[in-house]
Symmetry: C2
Subunit: 259 residues, 2 copies
DNA sequence: GCGAGTCTTCGGTGCGTACCGAAGGGACTC
DNA sequence: GAGTCCCTTCGGTACGCACCGAAGACTCGC
């Protein structure tokens, strides 16, 4: 009698299905994590929240064009799944990514997607898209042509090493202190690496992420060298910022198509 | 009249649902990608294939304990989704991960999973699990205590920089040439980085991945310093390997719990 | 207080899909 | 050529879940 393993009653229960070598217990967990993102609406929420800010439930519902009740259920699921963090304030429910690790997770997933297939339609869409391609925030660091150009300039000056992997050099650490006033201790927060490569959606090249990327973005916004455009994630380089980047990194913002 | 956007006929079609700023067109793609892994059986297939070898459809079906017909459908879906590559040979269908980028994707997902909750039961399971924790392959490089110990030793000797991110140093490149006979040109293949951090499942610490990690694994297997245990992904350090690592990296295999 | 605004809970509908067995198509062996 | 093996295709079932509207809980402003 050759009863296949999958047809016996015991083997069909959840606990007995996976092989016993320990490793594959993960498959259920992996599937559960992936399932959180395996819905267009939930995926849209997460991508929207990749701008690093907190959105209300209603804003997200409108963004993804679903009923508030539907959004509410999805948001509960994402929060319980550990991807989002919520803050109840008055009658609003503010949501944001649960942390840098979630941003990294989303980045590594989106990095493996095909480039955008359908070009945006309509004037508003085109100009919004162009602004995002020029410069934007990606969770807590800079992306788009701006982010990539800064990273390239830092690499050319030996502040970032992209030859052997992706790391901030000793000179890079000094530069953060001297040029931006960021103490070395501020670059080592917990287990998050100082420098990490983040593949840019639009440029398809690496830009600087990690604590150094976050501190860089902070400082540039603080000093008004970069400003947010409206309320979105798009940013633009200011006149003062162009002059500063020219001096600190030898970066010609106009030539690099950042203005 | 305040008809909500989501209730109009046009807005419910796929093409009009996403906002028009260009970015959120990705949400559909992200959801599609995530859906490939959002099933326990498909997730188990992918995790099994993380050993880097090619499995037959039947082997995978038995591993995940589903009917061959069910496995066949899942494998077709994973292949069409770009995660797996197949090779038909005679009456067999061999499957493996479509490339290092898929291995990276799986790593970054599994890195965000909770540590294993249920300890493995039974003698066979425990010893298999212990062997995997001691040393194993992770796609094309070494993992487990062995992988982490080698990476730590390389870091202590200044061959790998984990301070500013994760990169192979100049000294590290020389070491690959002198100690292993790997030419620098062999460390730069296409767009894959020479060194990349891969978070170890069992150790929860980084080990060396990327082309350097792959070459290292190749050489150690070639020179019989490391051998596969049976047909699985577990590996063990040989006597010759322990001596070699002692000499080349000052690594005491016995003290590090590798033997 | 009362109404407006935000979010949640609940019931109900419909679609997608994971699963199996049975049957069929190639490929290998003897 | 017959039998065996591996895989695929197809039909059918059952379950999960994404979605909505309506009703309720809670906060805020007047």
């Amino acid at each position: 009698m050759t009863t296949p393993a999958y047809s016996t009653a015991t083997n069909r229960t959840a606990t007995h299905r996976a092989p016993a070598d320990g490793t594959p217990a993960y498959s259920t967990e992996l599937a559960r994590l992936a399932a959180l993102l395996a819905d267009r609406t939930r995926a849209a929420f997460c991508l929207a929240l990749l701008d690093g800010r907190a959105w209300t439930a209603g804003e997200l519902a409108a963004y993804a064009q679903v009923a508030p009740s539907t959004a509410s259920e999805h948001l509960t699921r994402l929060t319980e799944g550990g991807l989002l963090a919520e803050r109840r304030q008055g009658r609003h429910r503010y949501l944001q990514l649960a942390g840098p690790h979630v941003a990294e997770l989303l980045e590594s997933l989106t990095a493996h997607l095909d480039p955008p297939q359908g070009a945006p339609r309509g004037l508003r869409a085109v100009s919004a898209s162009a602004a995002l391609a020029r410069g934007r925030t990606c969770y807590d660091h800079l992306a788009g042509r701006l982010g990539v150009a800064i990273t390239d300039a830092m690499t050319a000056r030996g502040l970032v090493d992209q030859d052997g992997g992706f790391a901030l050099t000793d000179a890079g650490r000094d530069w953060f202190t001297d040029a931006l006033g960021v103490e070395p201790a501020d670059l080592r927060t917990g287990r998050r690496p100082p420098a990490r490569a983040c593949l840019d959606w639009t440029e398809r090249r690496n830009h600087l992420a990690g604590t150094a990327g976050a501190r860089l973005c902070d400082r540039l916004l603080d000093r008004r060298w970069v400003r947010r455009i409206g309320s979105g994630r798009a940013v633009r380089l200011t006149d003062a910022g162009a002059a500063a980047l020219q001096e600190l990194l030898g970066l010609d913002g106009t030539a690099a198509g950042l203005r």
